[in-house]
């Protein structure tokens, strides 16, 4: 049914919008800026900061542009003296309960409250300082995020992100009046409560009340130690999005310039995560095939669906919220851990380096990847990944170094581990891991080359929370006869907010799907919690479209066709002592 159109005027400019639009939507349509703070396009409307108040003719009180639906004939003023006075007062009040030592702040320069303060020229301290002493002590107990209540503006974006988008609910509002605050369960340190480290709160916090736990200083330290050989792996998501922080648009030269920048920062070697993602896909695919075989041989053995585990926050989510899924998770290491493992074994060997002298760093769009740096690998006691930094942290390092990326001469990856397939790029977008697995699976099971039509599975792309597809093989290789004409059902969970809904739909062992990919972040890694701020579903979609085009441009489309990968399997992974290297310890 077509929605009816509503006409109104804003600052005497006539505008017509669809029924159900808000005043803010209507203002956007005529390119009129109304300041907001608690509003975020990805979240439910809250209407609690009151920064977006506007004057509605005939109304004594001001109304919030973000929450008020338009009605026919509405007359709105967004810049009357009444509005300006109220808005300025509100910003002053917000600053009075905010730790406003901006120069020392992690978000200095990228803070919505700071912008508002500068827009409204908040000069003298009109009001009393209300920052509570106990709030000045930030909670840095978590591996991934830091919560500083003295910088909280009570917009509750984190609460809505964590509960509504992620279905986690680490944060809630407690107490009322002057004691009201955003708190964890009973105010416990984040490490002691349920938090999946996804960092989605940090990318939606308007200030620095929630930030990723910065590790870039440690990385600088490692670089400056001459005896250390520091290897960094970058992911396509980081390269596609980092320009948003550094002020350039991604193009075909960006990758090689970012490599050049990383080398200038002092990294001894730069590799692409895609190579390890290819290994991951092959591992995942073979594990899945073995599970299928197992399920076929013993129907009572309910080993399916096979569930991916590469999203590190997902493992934590499962542990607390969906324990029944735990036994279904893939036992393969994530591509980041595979990177760490191979660098400290195969690569060390090839380059005659002592693994103890190697520092592995991943730069990812992910804050939860920081928890992977704590997994030490027995028996040597070496960690796979020593430091994990986010896109935002890398951008900061590049800014600190004074490098102008766009003027750099292109450079190349470490030749040993540089090749990657288009499939590996896809794994960074929701549904992409499944697409990549289908490409490899098809060729492994049928023995025939993949039909090019199957390179794009649109059902697995896009913004839906739960996506699915069915594959059938009419021809199969010897040994896989049981898969002939069998419907193999794939499901993709796009954001942890949909995971419980999906898994609780079926009782244990009755889930009809065979393969389930879960990414806790909306859009997959490309929408990770460590990506540039601001973020929105709209932006994530734009970033993902670059990933899809990178796949289309790639020469090698399938993970198992990566030449170097086959070499590593031949030379290293096939050896008896390395059989378990890529399994989770």
């Amino acid at each position: 049914m077509e929605k009816s159109q509503i006409s109104l005027t804003i600052n005497d400019i006539p505008v017509t919008v669809e029924e159900g639009s808000t005043i803010l939507d209507a203002a956007h349509k005529i390119n009129l800026h109304i300041p907001t703070l608690c509003y975020h396009p990805d979240l439910k409307v809250a209407g609690n900061c009151r920064v977006c108040v506007v004057e509605l003719k005939g109304n004594k009180e001001l109304v919030t542009a973000c929450s008020t639906a338009v009605t026919e004939g509405m007359v709105i003023f967004t810049n009357s003296s009444k509005v300006r006075t109220a808005r300025k007062t509100i910003v002053e009040l917000l600053l009075s309960e905010h730790n406003a030592d901006c120069t020392k702040c992690y978000r200095n320069g990228n803070c919505e409250l700071q912008w508002l303060a500068s827009e409204y020229r908040i000069g003298d301290h009109v009001y009393h300082d209300l920052v509570r002493a106990e709030d000045r002590l930030a909670d840095s107990s978590s591996f991934s995020i830091i919560k500083d209540d003295s910088r909280c503006v009570r917009c509750q974006r984190c609460v809505r992100t964590c509960s509504d988008l992620q279905d986690v609910g680490t944060f809630a509002v407690v107490k009322k009046g002057k004691k009201q605050k955003v708190s964890t369960f009973f105010g416990k340190p984040i490490k002691d409560v349920f938090c999946i480290d996804c960092g989605q709160c940090t990318s939606r916090c308007p200030t620095a009340a929630l930030i990723e736990k910065p590790l870039f200083e440690d990385v600088w330290d490692a670089i400056s130690e001459p005896e250390k050989h520091v290897v960094i792996s970058t992911t396509p998501s980081v390269r596609v999005a980092i320009g948003e922080e550094l002020g350039f648009e991604y193009n075909k030269h960006s990758d090689s310039k970012i490599i050049a920048a990383l080398k200038l920062l002092g990294f001894d070697a730069v590799v692409d995560s895609g190579f390890f993602a290819d290994i991951y896909i092959v591992e995942l695919c073979t594990e899945f095939m073995l599970k299928m075989k197992q399920a076929n041989e013993d129907a009572g053995n309910k080993v399916l669906p096979f569930v991916t585990s590469c999203s590190p926050a997902w493992k934590k989510f499962v542990k607390t919220k969906l324990p029944q899924v735990g036994r279904l998770l893939s036992s393969s290491k994530s591509s980041r851990q595979i990177f760490g493992t191979l660098i400290k074994t195969y690569y060390a060997d090839q380059n005659a380096l002592d693994p103890k002298d190697i520092i592995t760093v991943t730069v990812t769009p992910c804050t939860a990847a920081k928890i992977e740096t704590t997994n030490s690998r027995p028996p040597e006691g070496l960690t796979d990944v020593d430091f994990s930094i986010t896109t935002r942290e890398l951008a900061r390092m590049i800014r600190q170094s004074g490098i102008d990326i766009e003027r750099l001469e292109p450079a190349d990856y470490e030749p040993l581990m540089s090749t990657h397939s288009g499939a590996s790029v896809l794994t960074e977008a929701s549904g992409g891991t499944t697409e990549a697995v289908i490409r490899t699976l098809t060729e492994l099971v049928t023995g025939n080359e993949l039909n090019p039509d199957m390179l794009k599975n649109m059902a697995l792309r896009g913004e839906n929370g739960i996506k699915e597809t069915v594959i059938k093989f009419s021809e199969v290789k010897y040994g896989w006869e049981f898969l002939k004409d069998k419907e193999i059902r794939f499901a993709v969970i796009n954001g942890s907010g949909h995971a419980a809904e999906f898994f609780n739909r079926f009782s244990d062992g009755e889930n009809p799907y065979h393969f389930v990919e879960v990414m806790v972040c909306h859009g997959g890694c490309i929408g990770g919690g460590g990506q540039p701020i601001p973020v929105s579903f709209e932006l994530i979609k734009a970033r993902a479209s670059i990933l899809y085009s990178l796949d289309e441009l790639s020469m090698v489309k399938k993970a198992h066709e990566n030449d170097y990968l086959n070499r590593i399997y031949r030379e290293f992974l096939s050896k008896e002592e390395n059989k378990e290297a890529l399994r989770m310890p």
Partner: protein
């Protein structure tokens, strides 16, 4: 002991022993539209602090096409200085239950909920008994309507209708964005009428005596009578039913102690009326709309302390959701303290006044919007007391 000065009304608390739900029985035989227009004719306005026309509210809810609708009785009586709803529930609960049932009949709702202030939990058993008896009668009248008690979660803001609904749904008592108003989208998204205890009791009275009789009381703009909770410097504290449209002067003459210098009408969120305005201030929707709280202050009282106490109350009871109310209440409190101590110049009071006015137009609900009422009315009339 009573002076004959003021006409006493006895509508709310009368006839309470004999009630066999005759009024309800009779009323349920009339068509709903007729009842709603009688209610509109009676000019009944909500007996809380806002004063929205009750008939109109019911009409809006009736117009909504929905399978489930709710009738909620707001018994969260939390405005400072009011205690009349407690008395109504204790003495004439049948009037309230009847009022709710009639409302349910008019708007097409089968479900009533009494949101009972937590501090009134001792009334629960009594009310529950009354509800069981009521339920029997309703069955006899072939009317499908059940009433449940919901024990309030204990905050001032739960008295605000959308916060009250949030509270019943199991969330923090915090106001919703309006529109949509509860009559359109209320409890669990269904059309919901939220009325005060006294409003339901008065509705029952109107259907008993008829709109015409009710209109004989009060003024053309403020029809009928209303309960007042009188406290403070008075020899005769308690609940008194008075006609609307009287002046503060009349009330003070009758109830006040000697040397009354001001009356706080409407509790913490109401207005302070100084002596010089007693004669010209009318209690009613044309003058001061009030939920019925009247607190008298005589010459011995410090208005600074009064204001300070109200601000302390607001800083504590603001739900903290919206910026102007959460931060503004704290700043007003700290502000008057600082001026009093001489840490801030006298002129700072003007900054605070501007702040209060901004809060009035930009807060999310009635709580933050009404902080300016006591603040400005006390400040304007007792400036010296506040400053020095």
């Amino acid at each position: 002991m009573e002076s004959p000065n003021q006409k006493r009304i006895d509508l709310i608390f009368s006839n309470y022993t004999s009630s066999k739900y005759k009024v309800l029985e009779r009323t349920l035989q009339r068509p709903p539209d007729e009842l709603i227009s009688e209610l509109m004719d009676s000019g009944l306005k909500g007996r809380g602090n806002v004063g929205f026309p009750t008939g109109m509210k019911w009409k809006f809810a009736r117009r909504e096409d929905a399978g489930t609708k709710y009738v909620i009785c707001n018994a969260n009586e939390s405005e400072t200085g009011t205690f009349k709803d407690r008395e109504i529930l204790e003495l004439v609960p049948r009037k309230v239950l009847s009022g709710m049932a009639i409302c349910g009949y008019c708007i097409g709702s089968k479900k009533g909920i009494i949101y009972l202030r937590h501090e009134y939990s001792y009334l629960k058993e009594h009310l529950q008994n009354e509800i069981s008896i009521f339920q029997e009668f309703v069955k006899q009248f072939n009317h499908d309507f059940t009433i449940e008690i919901f024990s309030g979660s204990g905050s001032y803001v739960s008295g605000e209708e959308s916060s009250l609904i949030e509270s019943i749904e199991g969330f923090r008592a915090e106001p919703r964005n309006k529109p949509p108003f509860p009559v359109i989208k209320g409890l669990y998204g269904c059309p919901t009428v939220v009325n005060n205890v006294e409003t339901f009791a008065t509705a029952q009275v109107i259907f008993r005596i008829g709109a015409e009789e009710f209109l004989k009381l009060g003024t053309s703009y403020s029809s009928g009578s209303k309960l007042f909770s009188i406290s403070g410097d008075t020899k005769n504290p308690g609940i008194h039913e008075l006609e609307l449209g009287t002046t503060i002067e009349d009330v003070v003459k009758e109830f006040g102690d000697k040397n009354i210098k001001s009356v706080q009408v409407g509790g913490a969120s109401g207005y302070c009326i100084p002596q010089k305005l007693f004669a010209e201030t009318v209690i009613g929707y044309e003058g001061l709309t009030t939920g019925g709280s009247m607190i008298f202050f005589n010459n011995s009282r410090s208005m600074y302390k009064v204001l300070h106490e109200y601000l302390r109350f607001f800083a504590e009871e603001s739900c903290g959701l919206c910026t102007p109310c959460r931060v503004g209440t704290q700043q007003l409190l700290l502000g008057i303290e600082a001026v009093k101590r001489g840490e801030m110049p006298v002129g700072y009071i003007d900054v605070l006044k501007k702040l209060a006015l901004s809060m009035k137009i930009s807060s999310k609900c009635g709580l933050g919007q009404s902080v300016a009422n006591p603040f400005i009315s006390i400040l304007d009339n007792f400036k010296e007391e506040i400053l020095y």
